[in-house]
């Protein structure tokens, strides 16, 4: 098989990370890349272009116009790379503070039949930032971490309770995040497909038509 079996079922967590890494995030650059020679952008000569960004998957404008300590927005993987090279600090998203997370936790506890509307990439994003930019948070990271863990557990419990509602028709799962979907996919799809098959088998009595299909 040209695609390994485990990748035919769902994405790997690394692939989910890859997807999330293509989202924009705000940074404080520690370097200045903006060049004084204005008006020549787009027609830069080969020599000066060696220290210019020219990218093919995202707009390089922000990168080529960085000013130290002036916030700008770049793609997450670029932010992480710059961070690794000590060229920027990453501005944590607004929802990733103790205060906001506490609100989310309260919401999760209050409404047992729905998920709070934290971003679709929350679990992946905070994992990446904790790991690679932990010094950029204002709140103590271990406290943020424990709240994320709380959120994760409350939501997991909710999912677990919701599983008895699996059926052969459809489900609505608003605000479930990408990593949660991916983790649950093989189970949910596997069981729902089987429930559907069982139900439709009883609808279509195929013995009569099979009779006509056979001929020696």
């Amino acid at each position: 098989m040209s695609l390994p079996a485990h990748l035919q079922e769902t994405f790997s967590p690394e692939e989910i990370q890859f997807i999330v890494e293509n989202e924009p995030i705000k940074i404080f650059p520690r370097i200045t890349t903006r060049q004084l020679a204005r008006g020549r952008v787009g027609s830069v000569s080969d020599k000066s272009s060696s220290n210019q960004w020219r990218l093919i998957t995202t707009d390089a404008n922000n990168l080529n116009n960085m000013v130290a300590m002036q916030s700008t927005e770049v793609t997450l993987w670029l932010a992480l790379l710059l961070k690794q090279q000590n060229k920027c600090s990453i501005i944590a998203p607004k929802w990733l503070t103790i205060k906001e997370l506490d609100k989310s936790i309260q919401y999760e506890k209050k409404y047992l039949d729905r998920f709070s509307s934290i971003p679709w990439n929350w679990l992946v994003l905070c994992q990446l930032l904790f790991k690679r930019a932990s010094d950029d948070f204002h709140d103590p990271v271990h406290e943020l971490r424990s709240r994320i863990q709380d959120l994760r557990e409350i939501r997991q419990l909710k999912v677990l309770k919701g599983l008895k509602h699996l059926n052969n028709s459809h489900l609505q799962l608003d605000n479930i995040s990408i990593l949660e979907i991916n983790e649950l996919r093989p189970f949910i799809v596997g069981i729902m497909d089987k429930l559907r098959e069982i139900h439709s088998a009883s609808e279509s009595n195929d013995s009569s038509q099979a009779n006509e299909d056979i001929d020696i």
Partner: protein, 209 residues
């Protein structure tokens, strides 16, 4: 009973399926059950002969039509069952061969002893030919419009483009865009991961965290 041998073959298929599921990296194929396959094919030939014989009897008017029809059906179904089992067995193995070919970058693994885990004698001659041709197909596909992509490259998203590596065994010089590297045992390099992916797979280099 007709079909019993075929069942045995499918159980074999199930077993090799389970084995290869256990490891995420493609496993090697177990031995081709040549004798079992031959016996099943013989059974089909026998059934086919019986069918012909019955047809003659029927035409001579020696048989009740219902009896004839029933016997014909039973034999046809047995033959079809055997065919299905044989094909499913062969298809599963062909899929495993496909994985093998991809894991080996479309190289001719039958004649490439490097890091090769597949015992050639476990494959039937037809399978060997198939593997060779499929590997060639992959090689062909890799060139052309998709040359830049390296279709047999890693299916894990790139995390660190540049990495530190330690040389585990001497591998001579390699040429990259960043110059020539002389891979001497125990030396360390900071290199582009994609340049050395193969050497890591083959155990020449080790990634340092």
């Amino acid at each position: 009973m007709y079909g019993d041998l075929a069942n045995k073959l499918v159980l074999e298929a199930k077993r090799s399926q389970q084995l290869s599921n256990k490891s995420k990296k493609g496993n090697s194929l177990p031995m081709y059950h040549e004798e079992l396959v031959r016996n099943i094919l013989q059974e089909v030939v026998q059934l086919s002969k019986n069918t012909e014989y019955l047809k003659e009897q029927q035409q001579l008017g020696n048989m009740d039509s219902k009896v004839w029809k029933c016997q014909q059906f039973v034999m046809l179904l047995c033959m079809e069952r055997n065919k299905r089992c044989l094909l499913a067995y062969q298809r599963l193995r062909s899929q495993m061969l496909d994985s093998l070919a991809w894991d080996n970058n479309g190289l001719d693994i039958l004649h490439d002893t490097l890091g090769n885990t597949q015992d050639t004698t476990d494959l039937s001659p037809q399978e060997q030919e198939y593997l060779k041709e499929y590997s060639e197909l992959i090689t062909e596909l890799k060139s052309g419009a998709l040359t830049d992509i390296d279709l047999t490259g890693s299916l894990t998203p790139p995390s660190d483009v540049f990495i530190d590596v330690r040389v585990l065994k001497d591998a001579g010089e390699i040429q990259t865009e960043y110059g020539v590297f002389n891979l001497i045992k125990d030396s360390q390099f900071f290199v582009r991961q994609s340049d050395v992916e193969r050497l890591i797979q083959q155990g020449y280099l080790q990634k340092i965290k």
